[in-house]
């Protein structure tokens, strides 16, 4: 299976770094608790943010005979080093206001020391640091490629945080958590990389030691510490360390290391002897340390721990996804040259393969020679009779990566014999370009002289078993062979059988004539015009589907009597009062649109059935235009009265009828061609075109619409199909 560059690099990076990444994340989680454990110690004094050095230092000078250094750590604990009254070394946390000792610093625990060394260098010194630095860099690349994948999946930066379609646990949470922890992980990776670079001296600038002109040092005027203006202006909170003068000699001075610069101060006069701003590299290193370790904020440290935990989850879920995808790889028993059934798959992340495999296995079980392959492997199939094309759509209505060459290949390799094709699109209504690529594939195939449509294009929303089942039923009915899928794919609520009573049957004199039959359900169930009625004429597995029009709370079917036809013959013989058992199959995609400004209905023959129901229910009087085609006016007579009445009640705005065997001998498509301008306008103002009838009519109409859309609107018809502005239910 071909996969995109970003996905491939995401995977390669993950595979090459997962061991070290696992180790670094695990130790990282542990280390995050070090700053947290420090923060809860009681050495912080709240007033530190207001205190200046002029207030603090005199107090400390008085309290301690010797101080060599004062430091304020990341927790804002103030610590001094010096010697006590006995001249012993003293290191203690103190209260900077009173000089009182608050506690003695404990050494970093051996455990954290050990984990830190493992985290930084794997105990391998320089080599280990290099590998860890490399891992941080790889994590950075993984984050970038992952972000690109999310942008691709969500179709654009703006839609970054919109809903994610759930395929399975690993995939869903990989993406959801990926978005949430993107920023902390990016920070971890970037700061880790920077720290490694700094460690190897690749970004650092040397520290500059203070340059002091000792000849210019003044010993007058003598001032008190509290009067030094530099001490008055420096807050304790800005201090990192203060080095006290080593002796009372005027050439010994205070060194103030602040957050952003280093000052040296004459210990007698309080003059500033030198001032060095830190180079950007030093500030960046400090910032990286703050961000990478969470030493300044317990909350950030916890966020880092959670993000590290997420990395572990990504490693697990990423491999779970990859493993699933690989399990979908194609295994063919028969070659492309000898197979009667060709199954083509277009899939970006492999979930469509599952359906294709199911059909493939089932056909092989039935003893058929079947060949399953990707769209991009399309070629001449000399023995093919059936072509089943299953495809998802990727990005903004684009082809999945393994189907991008399909259109060109179809042009290049015409099949030598007629092949009956069926297209099944997979997608989710959560995305605006629902199944657009599937519609395009259908279009491309419809344009081939060798291609014979077997069933109308079907779409499957969110991998709904019902949607898939609908296609499978239609396919098996048209191919006249058992359903090509195993039942476990079709799990889901099995709709119950209804008992329906026949209330009217118009019958017909001639075979090849059409008749209307009305049925009433015993219990009122929600049935909408456009749904399908599945009947079982012989009480066995054989099922026949008819479009339902709902009129006066009854189900009306429009049927053409075929000589020897199983379904039509059965229905024709029914008399009022008889009951039958049947199933109502919901067909959501072919319901009358609720919010369209205008609806154009196109039908031929019995395809008018659902439209009759829709027109009768059009109580809001949405502008509604019906174009229909029949063989002769006699076929239209059974609908004439109803439609003319609907026009007077404004449920139907205009009516256009074509007869193919009388008068001008027109097809419905010529009516459409005549009103091309009107149709284009309707589509432009977000109107909906509904098509119901034979596949041949559908093919003509869609070809015509393609021309209209291209010339008048500058877009392909598949764009309108995928935005549910062109709805089809043909057979």
């Amino acid at each position: 299976m071909t996969i995109s560059v970003w996905r491939y690099s995401h995977l390669v990076l993950a595979v090459s770094s997962f061991l070290l990444l696992t180790l670094a994340s695990t130790t990282g989680i542990i280390l995050a608790f070090e700053p947290v454990s420090q923060k809860i110690q009681p050495y912080r004094v709240d007033t530190i943010s207001q205190l200046t050095l002029a207030q603090t230092l005199p107090v400390l000078k008085k309290s301690y005979t010797e101080i060599s250094e004062l430091s304020v750590d990341a927790n804002q604990f103030v610590q001094i080093k010096g010697s006590d009254a006995d001249g012993k070394n003293l290191t203690a946390y103190i209260d900077p206001q009173t000089g009182k000792i608050l506690g003695i610093p404990t050494k970093q625990s051996e455990f954290f020391q050990w984990v830190t060394a493992l985290h930084r260098s794997l105990f391998l010194h320089e080599a280990g640091r290099f590998f860890i630095g490399l891992t941080a860099f790889l994590l950075l690349l993984i984050t970038v490629s992952g972000t690109m994948l999310i942008i691709q999946r969500q179709r654009g930066v703006k839609r970054f945080f919109t809903r994610i379609v759930r395929d399975n646990f690993a995939q869903y949470y990989h993406v959801v958590l990926g978005r949430l922890s993107l920023i902390p992980i990016f920070v971890i990776a970037l700061s880790g990389t920077y720290l490694s670079l700094a460690r190897f001296g690749l970004v650092g600038e040397d520290k500059v030691s203070p340059k002091i002109d000792f000849d210019a040092i003044q010993s007058k005027p003598e001032r008190k510490l509290a009067d030094f203006s530099v001490f008055k202006n420096t807050r304790l909170a800005d201090v990192q360390t203060i080095e006290f003068p080593f002796s009372e000699d005027v050439e010994d001075y205070y060194t103030l290391k602040l957050k952003d610069r280093e000052l040296t101060v004459n210990q007698i006069t309080g003059d500033i002897l030198s001032e060095n701003r830190y180079p950007a590299a030093v500030l960046l290193t400090n910032l990286s340390l703050d961000l990478h370790t969470g030493r300044t904020s317990a909350i950030w440290a916890i966020i880092l721990a959670v993000a590290s935990g997420n990395i572990l989850f990504f490693i697990y879920s990423g491999f779970a996804i990859t493993w699933k995808r690989r399990a979908n790889r194609v295994k063919n028993k028969y070659s492309a040259d000898e197979s009667r059934f060709i199954i083509l798959v277009g899939s970006e992340n492999g979930s469509t393969f599952r359906f294709a495999q199911a059909i493939h296995q089932q056909l092989i079980k039935q003893g058929e020679k079947t060949f399953l392959t990707e769209f991009n492997n399309y070629t001449v199939f000399p023995k093919a009779e059936y072509l089943i094309a299953l495809t998802a759509t990727y990005g903004l209505g684009e082809a999945p990566t393994n189907a991008q060459k399909f259109a060109a290949l179809v042009e290049k390799y015409p099949q030598p014999q007629p092949v009956r094709y069926s297209v099944l699109g997979f997608g989710s209504h959560a995305y605006p370009d629902f199944c657009q690529f599937a519609f395009e594939v259908n279009q491309v195939l419809a344009g081939q002289p060798w291609a014979v449509p077997l069933v109308d294009i079907h779409t499957v929303n969110d991998r709904s078993p019902e949607d898939f089942g609908l296609w499978a039923e239609a396919w098996s009915q048209q191919a006249d062979r058992p359903m090509p899928v195993s039942s476990d794919l079709l799990k889901g609520p099995v709709s119950r059988f209804e008992t329906l009573t026949v209330t009217n049957n118009t019958r017909t004199e001639q075979s090849d004539g059409t008749f209307l039959i009305r049925l009433r359900a015993r219990r009122r169930r929600s049935v909408t015009s456009g749904d399908l009625l599945a009947i079982y004429p012989a009480n066995d597995h054989r099922e026949r589907l008819y479009s339902i029009g709902v009129l006066e709370k009854e189900l009306q079917l429009s049927v053409r009597l075929h000589p020897g036809g199983l379904g039509s013959g059965f229905l024709h013989e029914l008399t009022p009062g008889e009951t039958i058992r049947a199933r109502v199959v919901s067909n959501d995609h072919f319901h009358f649109p609720q919010n369209a400004p205008v609806v154009v209905m196109i039908a031929n023959g019995t395809g008018i059935a659902p439209f009759l129901g829709m027109i009768s229910q059009n109580k809001q009087q949405i502008p509604c235009h019906l174009y229909c085609g029949f063989r002769q006016s006699a076929s239209f007579d059974s609908y004439r009265n109803f439609l003319e009445a609907s026009q007077t009640t404004q449920k139907l705005t205009s009516l256009h009828v074509a007869y193919s065997r009388e008068g001008d001998r027109q097809y419905v498509s010529s009516l459409i061609a005549h009103d091309a301008e009107f149709i284009a306008n309707a589509l432009m103002m977000k109107g909906v075109v509904m098509i119901c009838g034979s596949l041949a009519m559908q093919k003509d109409v869609i070809d015509l619409l393609e021309t209209i859309c291209q010339t008048k609107l500058g877009k392909s018809v598949s764009v309108y199909q995928s935005h549910s502005q062109i709805l089809m239910d043909c057979y």
Binding site: T65, E66, S68, E69, K81, G82, S83, A85, D86, G87, K88, N89, T91, K107, Q108, Q113, W114, A117, H125, E126, R129, R199, G201, G204, D206, K207, V208, S209, I217, S219, E243, F246, S247, E248, D249, V250, E251
Partner: protein, 167 residues
């Protein structure tokens, strides 16, 4: 050199000389404040061992260790080979390791009987993954040695002493 500095040096010398004159009678110890100023090297913080060496150049005692993580002690090679392993009481005299450009002030406790007797103070410095300077700095344990500013040869720029004022 300023006048004040000269005076303080003189005072220092007198104090040291005074104590050295009287050490024969008292076998006590003297505390010396010692400042170690590092060079501006890039890299990890340095580990420094301060040892007392006898006239034959043999380690006699560990006076101070800067750096508390025992894991890196073997990096301070000469010292570790000679006494580091055996010195059980390091934790009582170890402090924080020092970074490039920083200074550290420590207090050394030296037996009065060792002064002016061919003993030396050795400062050995080591930085993780960088070289080790076994004799970064050696100062004769004499009155003059302890009063001068001594230049280092490795990570240490210089070392300065002053007698602990409280003593």
């Amino acid at each position: 050199m300023s006048c004040l500095h000269k005076i303080s040096l003189l005072v220092l010398t007198l104090v040291v000389a005074g104590s050295s004159a009287s050490f024969a009678q008292q076998s006590g110890t003297t505390q010396y404040k010692c400042m170690i100023q590092m060079t501006n090297y890039m890299g990890e913080k340095a580990y420094i061992a301060v040892s007392l060496m006898n006239g034959k150049g043999v380690y006699e005692k560990t006076l101070y260790v800067l750096g508390s993580d025992k894991k890196w002690y073997p990096d301070v090679k000469e010292w570790y080979k000679a006494v580091g392993k055996k010195t059980t009481n390091i934790s009582a005299i170890s402090g924080a390791s020092v970074a490039g450009g920083d200074r550290s002030v420590i207090v050394l406790e030296i037996d009065n009987s060792k002064l002016n007797k061919e003993y030396k103070l050795r400062f050995e410095s080591a930085v993780e993954d960088k070289e080790d300077h076994a004799k970064d700095l050696e100062i004769p344990l004499t009155t003059e040695g302890l009063s001068a500013k001594s230049e280092g040869t490795g990570y240490i720029r210089y070392v300065r002493f002053s007698p602990n004022t409280s003593n």
